[in-house]
């Protein structure tokens, strides 16, 4: 291969035959396609969680006034929670120790450690 004399170029691409640039273009296209479709596959579970959960498990919709009812049967998975009402219902259903009025409009839950 002939190299120009004197100053070396910063980058030399040695083209051995016609398929070298063709391969580069092909790999670029394959990479783009893999990224585009692979990303969707990877995120399939989390991206469409709401619809999948709604389709497969009979999670009832939660009226907002149910949020402070202690005996709620709604126990959505954490990922499916998308409102404060749902979060509160979930927390309430996972909390055993309460004091105060069970039908109060305001529920305060403390996360704490004894140490």
């Amino acid at each position: 291969m002939d190299q120009p004399k004197g100053e070396k170029p910063a980058l030399t691409v040695v083209i051995q035959s016609w398929w070298t640039p063709a391969m580069a273009v092909l790999m670029l296209v394959v990479g783009l396609l893999a990224g585009y479709f692979g990303y969707q596959l990877l995120n399939k579970s989390s991206a469409s969680d709401g619809t999948v959960a709604a389709a497969t498990t009979p999670v009832p919709t939660l009226p907002s006034d149910q949020a402070t009812v202690p005996t709620t049967t709604v126990n959505p998975t954490l990922a499916a929670i998308n409102s404060q009402e749902q979060l509160m219902a979930f927390l309430v259903s996972n909390t055993t120790q309460f004091k105060g009025d069970p039908n109060a409009k305001v529920t305060l839950i403390e996360f704490s450690d004894y140490q």
Partner: protein
């Protein structure tokens, strides 16, 4: 107003044991008494203040049924429950204590006045646009 306690035992074994012990006291309807007793007997972290023996001693001091309490604590009746709660808290992004959920709205350590404002807002809601 209703107040709930959610275990976020993340400071080591004595945190876990103390949380389990309080739940065991809850079996005898003495959760909040035991909870207060624990907070008034803190003494360093994982240095024996909340060893299982001390936790049993607290129960005896408070006049609980020690046999039932000790069985509950030794059997690990609430081990999984306390761990599950800690996991939930962690997944929700709780990283310090105390953290509060006020009708599902996360609240950190804020001043009494800020708390009062938030609670008053919930009790006397101004017309709000629905949250997305």
């Amino acid at each position: 107003m209703r107040f709930g306690y959610f275990n976020f035992a993340f400071l080591g074994p004595e945190s876990q044991w103390a949380a389990e012990a309080a739940e065991c006291a809850g079996d005898q309807d003495k959760f909040w008494e035991y909870h207060d007793y624990l907070f008034s007997h803190q003494n360093g972290e994982n240095q024996g203040a909340f060893s299982k023996d001390n936790l049993k001693g607290f129960a005896a001091d408070m006049g609980l049924d020690t046999k039932a309490f000790n069985t509950c604590l030794d059997s690990g009746k609430y081990t999984q429950f306390v761990q599950d709660q800690a996991n939930i808290a962690q997944q929700l992004g709780v990283s310090s204590t105390p953290t509060f959920a006020l009708n599902g709205q996360p609240v950190g350590s804020v001043s009494f006045d800020e708390f009062k404002q938030k609670i008053d807002a919930l009790l006397n809601p101004t017309p709000l646009t629905p949250t997305p």
